[in-house]
Structure formats: structure tokens, C-alpha cells
Amino acid sequence: MLGPLAAAVLAAPADADRGEQLYARCAACHALAYDRVGPRHCGLIGRRAGSIAGFDYSPAMKASGIVWSGRTLDRFLAQPMKRVPGTTMTYAGVDDRKDRADLIAYLERAGKSPACAHK
């Protein structure tokens, strides 16, 4: 019975506006345009993990070999500390697949927005 519902949820297009709401969860440590406890998110898509000059990454993140994409972000955000043991992103993760998809859609959109024009 739940099969069709799950399929419908999975098939729903990612919602960047909803992702922007969800991004509030990240605001203790992250901002789009400047480094905080966590690194900035402008330029995230396509960036090699641990590569912003001057940011104090964990050795684990620097050595992770990850290049951030929708796919790698989805895996990381589900369980950051499992995906990169030793990361300083000590956050349990975003459990819900749709939440992650929307969040990533927002990050992709924000990266192309004026807020990230010079970052």
C-alpha cells in the first residue's frame, strides 16, 4: 500500500524553496558567503571537500577524496559522521530523503544567486 506513496514522494521534484527553509538547520555553523564554524556554501557544487584555503578542516575531511555533487552531498548529509569518520561536522544527519533532495536543490540554486556572485 505504501509502495505507490513512496514512489510518488521519490518522484516529486526537489523543492528549492522548501530547501531554503530547511537550510535554517545549518545556520548555527554555516553561511552561504562566509566561513564560520563550518565552511561557506557558495561554490560548493563541484568543489573538492576540504579545499577552501584558510579554513580549518579536519584531516578526515581533507583526505576524504570527495567532490561535492548532488549525489555525494546526499550520502554525506544522511550521516556525516559515518560517511567521513573524524569530520568536525558532528551532526547526526538529515534522515529524510526528500529533505536532503530539497536542501541540495537549494544549495545548487543559491550557488548561482547574487549572494554568491563574488564568493
Binding site: A27, A28, C29
Partner: protein, 318 residues
């Protein structure tokens, strides 16, 4: 609810995972015992009989009753030590450790019974010893404890409590993981302190909002203080405040902007603590993080209220 017992053990016995918080109650460090071997979470020197009383007693059985009476009198004057023990017991299982000398323990959990345990046993564990001498003295015990109710632990004491995983630390990497979580939280708290400083100095805040900002900053300072102490307690190095934070000052033009900025930080902090609570190996740290989460959720609500928004927009935080 089942009351948790106090267990007594010689410090030379092998520590067990079931010991809970291990408190050494001898005045002198046990001879020939390394710190790591003792696995004591806390050393409470003040709980032991005074040297003068110990000399007087001299393990002479004829002086046993007198020793008990005098020791009780001494304990009545050591309110701080008893307060700490009482609070620790309230928080979980407690094991009192001693090397050789007689110790007395007052615990309301055991129906106000005051127990005095002489050295005697070595290899029989706490249970055998705790059946040795049980003296009914509920009135004295009750007086002692009720006299100091309503106590609040200092931040330092909370840090001490949180550092009870001396055993877990030896068992694996859980301590390093917990230190990392605490340090991430500490970094965010330090930034929040700096952010409120910017807000308070901006000239954009009018009373009473300004007072609120200063008060909330004070809470974040208290959080940072406890987190840093706990990191140290666990053998880690607390992160320090950055020399410079990249706050978007150009976007803060009036009081509402500052409030919105602060509300965002507090909301994010609630989510961050929520995401950290299930990660700690040491559940006391989860509890401590949840305690901070509650405080910062209140900040968030009050800031929303000050902005004219629904202060509590959802039934669950995420």
C-alpha cells in the same frame, strides 16, 4: 523509580563499567597507584575523617562507637563535600573508592541509614562490605541533607559530572568523538558570544532589547565555559574564539535586522544541538547538550516574539 545505590569499593579493585561515577574519598592519594589505574572521576578529599580523628581511632575496636559519632559530627561541618556527594548520587550510580582507612557514607537512598565501613575487606567487592555495619540514624542524616536542599551546581561541577567516562575513554575512541562534538558546539557558542557583542555595540538596539541581548550573551558565555571545561576534563584541547568573524555587518541596518540575525543563529543552534544529542558516547553529555538546547530554543522564541512573529511556530524543532 528505583533508587540508585551507592557502592563502595577499594580503589585497588578492578574498575567495572557498572561503577558509574567513581569518587575517591581518601585524603591522600592511594600509595603506589597510578592515576589511570584508579580510574577515579573525582577526588573528594574532604569526605574522609580528619587526620586527628583517624589517629585517635587507630582501628581500636573499643573506640568504634566514639569514632562513628565524631565522624558524623565532622561530616556535618563539611557541607560542601556532602552536597557534592548528594548531587552526584542524584545523577546516577555512584561508587565511592578508598584505599585503606575507614570511611563513612551517608546516603538517603538507603533510608537514611548511615553506614560506616572499616577497611577489612579486600577482594569481596562492594556488596560484601556494604553489609558490614549499618547504623540506623535517619534523623541525623535527614537533618544533614535537608539542610542543603535546593542547591545548584556550578558550571565547573557540571563539567566534572560530564567527565565521568574515565572507563569509556580507556575502552575506545568514544572520548575523542565526544571531544570533537563538544568542540564544534564550543566553536558555535564562541561565535554567538561575538555576534551578540556586535549587536550590543551596534547602537541599533534599544532597551529592553539591549538588555535581552546582554542576558542571552551571558547564557552563551556560560555554555561556552562548561563546554570548554568539559573538553579539558576529557583530555581535549578546547577550541578558541576566532580573531575575526565574517558577520554580514552591511546587512544589519536596524534593530529588526539584528534581531533576525540573532534569531537565525539561535534557531540553527537548536538544530545543531539536536543533531549532536544522539551522537555522544557518554549519555550525560547528551543530557547536558539537551539542557543547552532548551535554553537556546527559549532565546529563539523570545527573539521571534520581539520581531512580532509567532514565537513558537512548530510543535517540534528539527
Amino acid at each position: 523509580m528505583k533508587r540508585r545505590a551507592i557502592q563502595l569499593k577499594r580503589v585497588y579493585e578492578k574498575p567495572s563499567r557498572d561503577d558509574g561515577l567513581r569518587v575517591l574519598v581518601d585524603r591522600l592519594w592511594p600509595r603506589g597507584l597510578r592515576k589511570t589505574k584508579a580510574a577515579a572521576d573525582l577526588w573528594l578529599k574532604e569526605a574522609e575523617p580528619s587526620p586527628a580523628l583517624r589517629r585517635w581511632y587507630g582501628h581500636d575496636p573499643r573506640r568504634w562507637r566514639g569514632f562513628r559519632r565524631r565522624y558524623r559530627a565532622e561530616l556535618a561541618h563539611r557541607a560542601d563535600a556532602m552536597r557534592v556527594l548528594k548531587e552526584l548520587r542524584r545523577r546516577g550510580k555512584l561508587t565511592l573508592l578508598f584505599a585503606a582507612r575507614a570511611i563513612a557514607v551517608r546516603s538517603r537512598c538507603e533510608r537514611g541509614v548511615t553506614r560506616v565501613f572499616p577497611q577489612a575487606q579486600t577482594n569481596h567487592g562492594g556488596k560484601a562490605m556494604s553489609s558490614f555495619f549499618a547504623i540506623q540514624n535517619p534523623n541525623a542524616a535527614r537533618r544533614l541533607f535537608l539542610g542543603h536542599s535546593g542547591l545548584l551546581l556550578s558550571g565547573a561541577a557540571v563539567a566534572l559530572l560530564a567527565g565521568r567516562d574515565a572507563l569509556a575513554a580507556k575502552a575506545g575512541t568514544s572520548k575523542a568523538g565526544d571531544v570533537r562534538i563538544l568542540n564544534t558546539a564550543l566553536g558555535a557558542e564562541l561565535e554567538a558570544i561575538a555576534a551578540y557583542q556586535v549587536g550590543a555595540e551596534s547602537g541599533l538596539l534599544q532597551k529592553p532589547v539591549l538588555d535581552l541581548a546582554v542576558q542571552f550573551q551571558g547564557h552563551h558565555k556560560a555554555h561556552a565555559d562548561v563546554l570548554a571545561k568539559t573538553v579539558s576534563q576529557l583530555g581535549g584541547k578546547p577550541v578558541e574564539a576566532k580573531k575575526k568573524y565574517g558577520f554580514p555587518l552591511e546587512s544589519l541596518k536596524n534593530q529588526a535586522d539584528v534581531l533576525k540575525f540573532a534569531a537565525q543563529l539561535e534557531q540553527g543552534a537548536v538544530s545543531a544541538y539536536l543533531g549532536a544529542v544522539p551522537l555522544f558516547a557518554n549519555r550525560d553529555l547528551s543530557k547536558a547538550a539537551a539542557s543547552i538546547l532548551g535554553d537556546e530554543a527559549m532565546h529563539w522564541a523570545v527573539l521571534r516574539h520581539a520581531l512580532g512573529e509567532n514565537p513558537v511556530p512548530v510543535a517540534f524543532v528539527s
